[in-house]
Symmetry: C2
Subunit: 151 residues, 2 copies
């Protein structure tokens, strides 16, 4: 089945090594990033999946979250998932050294509300590709916030 | 000190009792809400605090998150906080029956990136008042998303 998503199969590019270091003068890495002359804390993607599959499968969802972390070059600190008995929906949060990824799913509507919020030298958009491959949504809406922009 | 924030001192109004039930025909409570003719999963507040205090105090922050949950009429399922040694920043997530509240703080910048995402018959804006009283930010920016709008 070529369409089947294989958790843990995402390769991780050595992204950090390809990034320029612009914090050389700082006493520590505060995970702020700089793009287009704007210094900000991180990128927060608001991801809504519609017509998505396997939103009731907690073990699968946990693997997908872990794959998102790996694909983005982030560091997992803590993961917690909760399965609701009423509708088999799942709420899950992965706390990262670089912020968090969260999911809240309504399998009966094929809907999941997800957040991918990452600071530092990570690639949050790679997580979206993992989500697309894993949940195969008919439609995906992505909003993007630069959190903590310092001008 | 009248300015001192007293954790756990927030009174909780019996909000649920004051809400009309519009899910009477549903087989279960799926936590979707309806406002202005739009049915949606929940309200997601993107809250940025600047010039905020006590962003390095993990025990305080945990109490504040718990107060946010109480004030909003939400139900806490799980709470996890992490203290970073490099800058004393704190990352914390409260997983709720109604979604989540999160914080990522940079005490050295007086900055915290917070999310208050709540579904069902809750009052997420009450959490913002708790945050304002607790962290006494000089400036607060609030973005609002209606997640999962079904038209």
């Amino acid at each position: 089945m070529s369409e089947t998503y294989q958790p843990r199969a995402v390769s991780q590019a050595p992204y950090a090594a390809a990034q320029g270091g612009d914090d050389a003068g700082s006493p520590f890495n505060d995970y702020f990033v700089e793009q287009d002359g704007v210094r900000f804390a991180g990128t927060h993607l608001i991801v809504d999946l519609w017509g998505a599959k396997r939103l009731d499968d907690m073990a699968f969802i946990e693997n997908v979250l872990r794959d998102c972390v790996d694909a983005s070059g982030a560091t997992l600190l803590h993961i917690h998932l909760h399965h609701f008995t009423e509708n088999n929906g799942v709420s899950g949060v992965a706390v990262l050294a670089e912020s968090h990824i969260s999911i809240h799913s309504w399998p009966e509507h094929g809907y999941a509300a997800m957040d991918v919020f990452m600071c530092g030298e990570t690639e949050p958009h790679r997580a979206v590709e993992v989500l697309r491959a894993a949940f195969r949504p008919e439609r995906i809406e992505i909003g993007e916030h630069r959190r903590g922009a310092m001008a």
